[in-house]
């Protein structure tokens, strides 16, 4: 391969990766600024990051509807990437807002937190916009390595350190699978460009008979299934979610999961549509397994972070239902659901942060006893998030599930939809359990330590609005999601 350097530079259009550029530059600048900011004033870093995130959001939105490629086609700006970038920015913005108070309380408010969140976001964005296996891998690594740090960010806490270590070891292992898969796919097709892989596969007479390609694809899938915490690759989730600092758990549950789905969607729908029969069969089984394992294990959890960890596994299962459907309804459902999930899940974690006490970051469901009467507004917000997670109307969670399951029904996967809704009904039990404690149990405490600071209040308002409003008037977001999946 002869590379003409001059020609290569001509293909670079920085506008395509403008959101990434903004966040990277800001992240590096903040690392420097951090040195000069006294440890009491780290909150300024949070606000600066937020400004950058909003700016990146504008940069991303400005490209809506304009299809651009850059770096000789290895990164793309399309509606699909932009929609996902917005999901990541929402997750990052909310994570930044809910971090300060918690980190301050746990004495680990190091300024590096915010740049690392930004770098994670850049990684996720590359995952969504990468159209080359190499770009996707770069994005995945940038995201994952930053996440390992974030999981272990409370370095004086043994659980947090354990979470970081565990996530790193298992994550590295899964990356190995992914790389191996990429190597095999490259071996068969001779290219890492997704569009070219697609062309080559479509020219094969029977791609499913090519075992190297098949194994390659499944290994690739394995890598991503690990990231989205699908069963049976979910074992890391409860421990990491429990140990990681709560704001980072919130971030991890929303952003990287969506990023995993973004890359998986692009890979499977663009590169491997010819092998749809193979991967839908596998994902059908995994969707059922993931939903069921997640929900039924969550039923038994007292620790609220572990419960939400299993619940996040179950939610990955619901999203996989949309994947199996692989039609516009299902895939746009995934996009809508990931956005809603970012709002409702981070919102729920924000309440958990507020109710938690210093030094006891791992609250149980019982700690919520009596919150409903002592802190009605906070409890009402939590109730909204929980009902949305359970898929009750009129919340975004319901509309998302409706579209996911509709996609499955549309393609004739009735049983998958039925298993999905029955799972949903089972999940109601553990979400209600929190509500039961908040409202139906007498309070043993006054919750006098619960102080809602401005950033976290803003996060709660935004999450509540993002959970409720799309539940009542979902048309716009759904239409955007459908435009987004049209291009891939």
């Amino acid at each position: 391969m002869d590379i003409n350097v001059a020609q290569l530079f001509q293909t670079i259009n920085l506008n395509v990766i403008m959101p990434e550029v903004i966040l990277s530059v800001l992240g590096m600048a903040l690392l420097l600024v951090n040195v000069f900011i006294p440890s009491k004033s780290k909150v300024y870093l949070a606000w600066l990051s937020l400004v950058g995130i909003v700016g990146a959001g504008f940069a991303a939105v400005s490209g809506w509807g304009i299809h651009l490629e850059s770096f000789s086609g290895s990164v793309v700006q399309d509606n699909f990437a932009i929609f996902f970038k917005l999901i990541f920015l929402v997750a990052a913005g909310l994570a930044v807002l809910i971090s300060e108070q918690y980190m301050e309380r746990e004495n680990c408010n190091h300024g590096e937190l915010y740049p690392i969140i930004l770098f994670t976001t850049v990684g996720m964005m590359l995952l969504a916009s990468g159209t080359d296996l190499m770009t996707i891998f770069l994005g995945l690594e940038l995201m994952s390595i930053s996440l390992y740090i974030l999981a272990g960010f409370n370095r004086d806490n043994i659980k947090s350190t354990e979470a970081g270590m565990k996530y790193f070891l298992l994550g590295a292992f899964s990356t190995g699978f992914l790389l191996y898969g990429m190597a095999l796919v490259y071996g068969v097709t001779g290219t890492t460009r997704i569009s070219k892989i697609a062309t080559l596969i479509s020219q094969m007479s029977n791609p499913a008979d090519n075992s190297m390609l098949l194994i390659g694809m499944f290994l690739l899938l394995t890598g991503f299934l690990f990231k989205i915490a699908a069963a049976p690759f979910h074992m890391w989730t409860p421990d990491v979610y429990e140990g990681a600092p709560t704001p980072m758990t919130a971030f991890m549950s929303a952003g990287p999961k969506a990023a995993g789905f973004a890359a998986m969607l692009r890979l499977l729908l663009v590169a491997f549509p010819a092998m749809k029969a193979e991967w839908t069969d596998l994902l059908w089984i995994l969707a059922v397994l993931t939903m069921t394992v997640g929900n039924f294990t969550a039923l038994r959890q007292d620790n609220i972070k572990r419960m939400l960890a299993y619940s996040s596994i179950a939610h990955a299962g619901y999203a996989l239902v949309g994947f199996v459907a692989a039609n516009a309804t299902g895939t746009s459902g995934i996009l809508f659901y990931m956005l809603s999930y970012a709002f409702m899940n981070i919102g729920a974690f924000a309440v958990i942060i507020l109710v938690g006490k210093q030094g006891e970051p791992n609250g149980t469901v019982m700690d919520f006893a009596g919150l409903g009467m002592k802190r009605p507004l906070l409890a009402a917000t939590m109730t909204l998030f929980l009902f949305s997670l359970a898929g009750m109307p009129p919340t975004a969670g319901f509309i998302g599930k409706f579209y996911l399951f509709s996609g499955a029904v549309q393609e004739g996967y009735i049983w998958l939809a039925i298993i999905g809704v029955l799972n949903s009904a089972a999940s109601v039990y553990y979400y209600l359990r929190v509500i039961v404690y908040m409202y139906f149990k007498p309070s043993e405490q006054e919750f006098e330590w619960v102080t809602v600071t401005a950033p976290i209040a803003l996060a709660l308002v935004v999450s509540a609005a993002g959970t409720l409003i799309p539940g009542i008037i979902p048309s716009y977001i759904l239409q955007f999601a459908q435009q987004a999946v049209k291009l891939i």
Partner: protein, 536 residues
Amino acid sequence: MSNILSVMTFLPVVGVLLLLFIPKGNNGVLRSVALVTTLVTFLVTLPVLTGFQTNADFQFVENVPWIAAGPFAMRYNIGIDGISFWLVILTNFIMPIAVLSTWTAVEENVKEYMICLLLLQTGMLGAFVSLDLFLFYIFWEVMLIPMYFIIGIWGGKNRVYAAVKFFIYTMAGSLLMLVALIYLYFLGSKAGITDFSLLHFFDLKVDPGTQTWLFAAFALAFAIKVPMFPLHTWLPDAHTEAPTAGSVILAAIMLKMGTYGYIRFAMPLFPQAANQFAPVIATLAVIGIIYAALVAMVQEDVKKLVAYSSVAHLGFVMLGLFALNEEGVTGALLQNLNHGISTGALFLIVGFVYERRHTRLITDFGGLSKQMPIFATIFMIITLSSVALPGTNGFVGEFLILVGGFESSLRWWTIVASSGVIFAAVYMLWMFQRVMFGELDNPKNQKLEDLNAREIIIMIPLLIMVFVLGVYPNPFIEKMTPSIKKVIAHTRVEPVITAKVAAPAEVTAPVVPAATPAQHESATEPQPAAEKPAGH
């Protein structure tokens, strides 16, 4: 006013917004605001009551686009016809009574309580007026949330169990209905239907095999709500634990949601399956009638007894619906109202006693009639109405159901069910005797005070309705008849023709008897109803 139904449906939400701005603890103000809201909502219903035309069309229709994305288009499509008309009135009639009944019963968290009651009203009204399947589903689910809180926060000892059971039972059933709903939509979209509008789906011809499954999913969701044997187990728990207003609303309105669901959705949408399932449902209904009556007989708790009587009464309603003739369905719908009034009143009565004595055990009472003569009179009238004494409302409904059932293919079921009438008399009158007559030997009962003015005021409208419906039910029946005829014409499948329909193409149209061409026309032509201003 063309959007009067919307105004009515969402007025309680306005009340909720007002309540939010009233500080906690101002119980008097909170109660008054809630009461005024429900009263205003009732007043808003009056133009509906007077403006409703006696025909089979949907009236006061509002139809605007709501969600449009991808394969789906949901519309905010509401309206009422003879089937939903009285249920809407009943809801708005019962709500002020329910609010007034909690005046002194609920002392803690009054604000939240009233908010829940008002949200519940919006949910119920919305479900009754929805003509869009998706919109109906939303209201149907939303209704659960306030009721869950009402039972869970203000309920009795075992309230958490009852509330969670209520919620999950209902939710599991509805979710399967949701899948059926989605499936139905895609069937419709293949036939050119582009939205969730109920009227369009009435004309959809679904092949019999598919109908069976779809009907089963809908029927399950509604059967849980009715509740039908053997899915009734949540009901005694929920009723016993719920506070008085919760029980009243649950019995008077929410259970009607199940029977309403059958006659509005499950039966006319899937007529062949409805005919096919009629014996099964009739069997369950009859088992429900007899079983619930027997269980009611041995209850020690008055409230539980009334709860089981609900199961029996709704068994009659189901039997009447599936008789699928005019008498049966009319009786069923009338009995829906009667049950709302009588059982609602019974729960209020139980509430009065419970508020005074904090017990509901039959053995704790006896001879109350000596101490509380007004109470005794009212209780007697309601009891007699519940056991369907001629002259009271219960008689008309049950009589029509039995007549209808006897004329239909469900004759033998009806014969068995009639024995339920006797059982009802046994358990109700026996309970009444043990509570009200005999020696006033319990010293705690000797100081009981008779009903106060507020309690009497609550009961008066109900008593009036007992006699009005019992003596002169015609105006009520008249409003319903055209719609009932239309539904029956649409749903009824003569056995001979059922056998012929091997090709899924003809389900409804050829089946309609030649005598009712007009109704058939309006069944296939929903647009005129939407356009007609219906007198407003």
